[in-house]
Point group: C4
């Protein structure tokens, strides 16, 4: 008899021994009458397996390739392949459902996974430092305990106050004349005007924010310095501390705070010296980046995490596009510069680049615009090419976001359905 | 014999008793030779069921998990699971078609479901108040009867007239000098100019809309007050009346109308006192919100309802993004403020925030724009990040809208095909 | 025996007579031993049909509902339903593939179908008027013959020349002083200036386009009048002629051309009288709409037809959104008007509406912008709500276009594969 | 016996001889008892094939049409059709999976395929010119060897330097007074001012870039000329050299460089003669297009290639849309011109076209904007129609990009999985 009859879950399959023997090492190639599955009376082998998927298995023997009906479950197939002892990669024409599932598992991992503290570091520490660990979890894992939540709200409030104070400090309604110039104010003003310092700088030198704002700013500054010191001192592994981008930013901000505090006493020197002014301005400009700390808490929420994941995934492509935009901007800048040679607003090519960017992003302030016919044609082309080029990053970000969002919605629905059986990796891995 | 032969609709299945007994309580585990389905002559059990889905059922016994061929109908599977007395949730790798159908049912419900009046409230009222109910349905259910439709059109006209009147009242071509200043006009003008009130305010104090506009405004105002009074008096449950957002808005608008009416007599005082002016302006600004009443009727049409549903579903995500935009705006405001320190238009950071928002939304009025090199770089980054960040809300709203829209189109097609068998929840629930 | 054994293409099915008899009139319910399909020796009925789809047929008897495996071909099912004499509509849970195919057929029809002339009208005419028909096809069916193509190119050229002439006529470099004012020019100028007519009007009264432009304009005008006269005279059914939107537009344009020609002789009167001027300007403004004639030819190409189909399908939704935008614009206009009460640029609410539209579309000319804090907040909200609301029409148009485009690409591929077997409706209808 | 029993892989099929004989030439029609597959004892024909797909094959005999279960693999079906000797094209209702796979193969080809040098040309050359081939590969195939990579980086640097030099040359901070005017500068200035040349031109005539910038520019110019000469001389087939768009561009740029070099010596003449100035400006404007050379290297990366492929695929549709936009712009220009007849900024229709384009692209510089009521309505319609029309190119580009991007991601995943079995055309062709 050159064919063998296989009874798989009640369905009969027949295949020639020749085909089976082509793949030695697999379970079917090793079949013999001594197997426990052999039924002598019917001259057949019986297996308690899914007959539908067994057809896929037999196709492997028939054609030497692994093809796959797209309606079957890939995980079931995986199980069968393991049972029949077949090791073969799927053909490229049928691999799509596999890849999709694998991709899905990766995405779900990214969505769920909260950033963990390295518990190992704490576990290696002596048991006595439980208080240290407690402070760390309160500060770094905002949803871990009630105390942590209270601390998070407090932290939020401080950031909010500090931001509002910084904003208000620059508004003239919240500034008063410096007490130091008891009558010398006019003298100082004359001195500054004589030295060609512009009016806005003069008002900033002669005035200062209300006392209450200054005090609040000092207090919030102090809070952030203390907060970071405490966080660093309780951190289990100091090395990893400065590998986090947010922690490095914190350090820079705190150094800027101290520098600002020192520099503030030399305000007249600042407004006279270009370099000192740039340093002072940079310190101020950096300080407000503590607002990014808000994102750290925000990332605890899945909704915002998927936005960040989408942006992060798009980053590489976006940077390439940014370079392309810049290249295009330089080309347009060059063209507009020569087209508008008689136009004073395009005094150099950097103005042209600024024009090109403002036009391509369709912002169009109107501080600079073409006048000549050729200039207008270049401008129109610039606007149109901007719309078309910028359609691509929009497509990328929107596409990535939509993908994550769908997956997230699905994840929420599954979670809602079977709370007792959480979706974990081992369960849906292929 | 350790295996059992099952004849399901003519197809034979064979499975070992051992596997079946693993899940006690299910129909297959309880099989015995006393069952009516047992055919002694052939030593088999016969069932009048779908053989294709039965394979899924047997897989549950074979693997202990519920997997699912994606081409089968989920409702049929539901029926079979019920017949075979199996209670088990689907594996996460095959649950997708289930979730999709469930999601679909929820969406169709949202699309169809018109907002109902609480008929229960009316049903508890004494039978005599039929007229009250009739007025209520005319006013609240615009498509319920012919009278209701006529009333809706009339209501529309009144809103339209009232809006046009409000718009025209502010136009100088529709204003005349107040009669009260018989010759005193110039005197008044001098008085006002002496008190530094700006020109536009002066023209508004010295002029007033044409008599006919004023009369029309009073009439429409009166109509809205009466309309609300009637609607409140016939409302079956007064408590729920003010739970509706639109009704609360109506109340506020009507209070504003009365306040406006009272304040109008003190127009000179209004333009002198800051507080009175703010009150008066607020009353005016609020009045026009009666235009939102138009949306209530519009919601009767499915087309607009899906737009609102899409916006409503997107609201939570949009508010998160709005906050992110604001945070980014503050960061950019800070940077541009220090970068453009010598530029007068950026006089404080609030100007910077305004600049950042105008740039990120690509509106770019041009009232305020960077001049220095660093300022231009910050501005360009601001515009680009705006485009990228705003791609996300566009993706969210467009995505939600498209989903609802597709579902709605499908719903229309099904309805068109089988009017006698309307799609209702019980029919397609899983 | 209470069950019947059916051999369908070699696969055996078994079902109880009871279930079959539930649906009298169907082929299976009418089975008896006298049927030619009955095989006495095996006590079975044999059918030469697809066994996989037969399972769907049996499910109808088993569950009383028509369900459908999504991998099967709907047209094959249709054939089987017809063979088995079953009339039943698909359950709503499985109807999706049906609807999809039907929808597809409708779309393909829309894409292919070129607008036909009513050949019936010609067929009813006496045979002698063959020349009339020939002229008609040359003028109306640009791709029908070589002569028609030549005529189309000529028509294109005339439109192009006429458009360029109209554009150039307004440019000062292509205008000269009117010969009629032999020295009186200055006198006329003084007269006009004395009557407060603005400078631009004066230049238009005192100058006129170059002689060559005027002649070209007259010639093209004449061509269009003749073209329409001829087309109307050869038209087989005069009634339908004016049912076409483009033909009505042609008529209006031609009337405008004649009116313009008459009015041109009274140019001084025109610039003095407001009404005459508006008439004259309207005539000019209308004339250029002959450019829309270009679209008629463009529609012969499938690529552009799908764009128009997409826009046409979106029209209803877009108009609803336009109204919503307008409503929002009025609300924002009202708010900004009171917020910016001290700002002269917002002199009335119509200015506010203009501001709201310019902001919502993110155009932002900068002719009008808020200055106060509340005004800026209203402006920012306006810009953001504009972006969100305008995401919807973009989604609608882009969605519709993408759908048609995909279908079109598919259609092209099918056509390329089997030119001998064109895809026609009867073939793929369900 | 009028039916035949076929045992395909253990599953039995029965079909009447009559149906089989309808399609002579196919393997099943040629079956006879003499075939090796015939088993006399069981009166059946045995085949070692997939039973599931065999059903599709039998359907061809049953219905005379080729239908297809969408879950099956198209390549397996292909194999079966070949085995059973059936030549028939798929029905249009089931052809979709086929087209999809074919389309996929085409796309993958486009994504992978790097632009090859014609190796044939080199192979026909005498063996001695190995050095020539080496230079060619270094210059044209940047990723082929280490030397090629070093050369690419060097080339990049030169382009970067040349671009920066061009940009800086126009900035006044990097310009100095020409040495040639030893004291005559003022004289020259007066001469120029007397001849109505504008200020910006004057500064460009009187100043010149720093010596160091001029030297760098000369050096980079020289490099590009030499580079092209070398590349042309080693090019194996001179004919194909100028068929490449980038090479033609290089030639033009190099001619422009030489022309620029010659013209620079007559700078005063240039700024006096309009024609010479245009030539000089064109030379300068063309030079910077060497920046496009960057794209050539960029195309080596798959990421950017898909962007270019997407843009290239969209090009035809985009050009049609551009024409439609232009047509719309002319229509709006005409309307706004007559609506704003009293507004000086709309001095001619070309201004109107510029306004329409700036509005439709939502750039809105604000250099020109409507003032009258009708003008504002036209402007608003223009902005809205712009948003709607421009939604289409965004949809096209974004759609094409997304398609390529998905395919590319998939391709990356497959490559990652089975490096030993690269996906090649022959493998997945249908």
């Amino acid at each position: 008899m050159d064919t063998v009859i296989l009874n798989v879950g009640g369905t009969f399959f027949e295949i020639s021994w020749k085909l089976l023997k082509r793949h030695p090492g697999t379970r079917l190639a090793e079949l013999s009458e001594k197997c426990s599955e052999f039924r002598k009376e019917k001259n057949e082998y019986y297996f308690d397996r899914n007959p539908e998927i067994f057809n896929v298995i037999l196709d492997f023997y028939r054609y030497g390739e692994l093809h796959f009906s797209s309606n079957l479950c890939t995980r079931l197939l995986q199980k069968e392949l393991h049972f029949w002892n077949i090791e073969c990669s799927m053909e490229s024409c049928c691999i799509h459902p596999y890849l999709k599932l694998e991709n899905q598992v990766q995405m779900l991992d990214k969505i769920k996974e909260p950033r963990n503290t390295c518990h190992e570091c704490f576990d290696t520490l002596p048991r006595g430092v439980r208080i240290r660990r407690r402070i760390w979890t309160i500060m770094e894992e905002p949803l871990s305990s009630k105390a942590a939540k209270v601390y998070m709200v407090f932290y939020f409030m401080v950031i909010l106050i500090s931001t509002v104070v910084i904003l208000l400090s620059t508004h003239e309604d919240f500034r008063e004349e410096r007490r130091e110039f008891n009558g010398n104010s006019t003298e100082m003003r004359i001195y500054l005007q004589a030295h060609h310092v512009n009016k806005k700088v003069i008002t900033f030198v002669l005035n200062r924010p209300f006392q209450v704002l200054t005090i609040l700013e000092r207090m919030t500054d102090l809070f952030f310095i203390i907060e970071m010191t405490v966080r660093f001192s309780v951190c289990p592994c100091k090395k990893r501390f400065f590998k986090s981008f947010l922690n490095v930013l914190d350090l820079i901000i705190n150094i800027a705070i101290i520098a600002k505090f020192v520099l503030e006493n030399y305000y007249i020197a600042i407004y006279k010296s270009q370099i000192l002014y740039i340093m002072f301005a940079s310190c101020h400009a950096v300080t407000i980046f503590r607002l990014t700390r808000v994102f750290r808490f925000a990332l605890q929420s899945s909704g915002i995490r998927i936005l960040f994941l989408a942006l992060w995934d798009s980053l590489k492509d976006l940077s390439v596009l940014l370079l392309m935009c810049l290249t295009l901007a330089v080309l347009f800048a060059n063209m507009i510069f020569y087209a508008e040679f008689s136009n004073f607003t395009f005094s150099n090519m950097f103005q042209g680049i600024w024009f090109a960017i403002v036009t391509m992003t369709t912002v169009g302030y109107g501080d600079i615009y073409p006048v000549t016919t050729i200039g207008c044609i270049v401008g129109a082309l610039c606007a149109l090419s901007g719309i078309i080029i910028l359609a691509v990053p929009i497509a990328i970000v929107a596409g990535n976001f939509t993908t994550y969002y769908k997956k997230y919605t699905e994840f929420q629905m599954i979670k809602g359905k079977e709370d007792d059986r959480p979706l974990n990796r081992s369960q849906i891995s292929i």
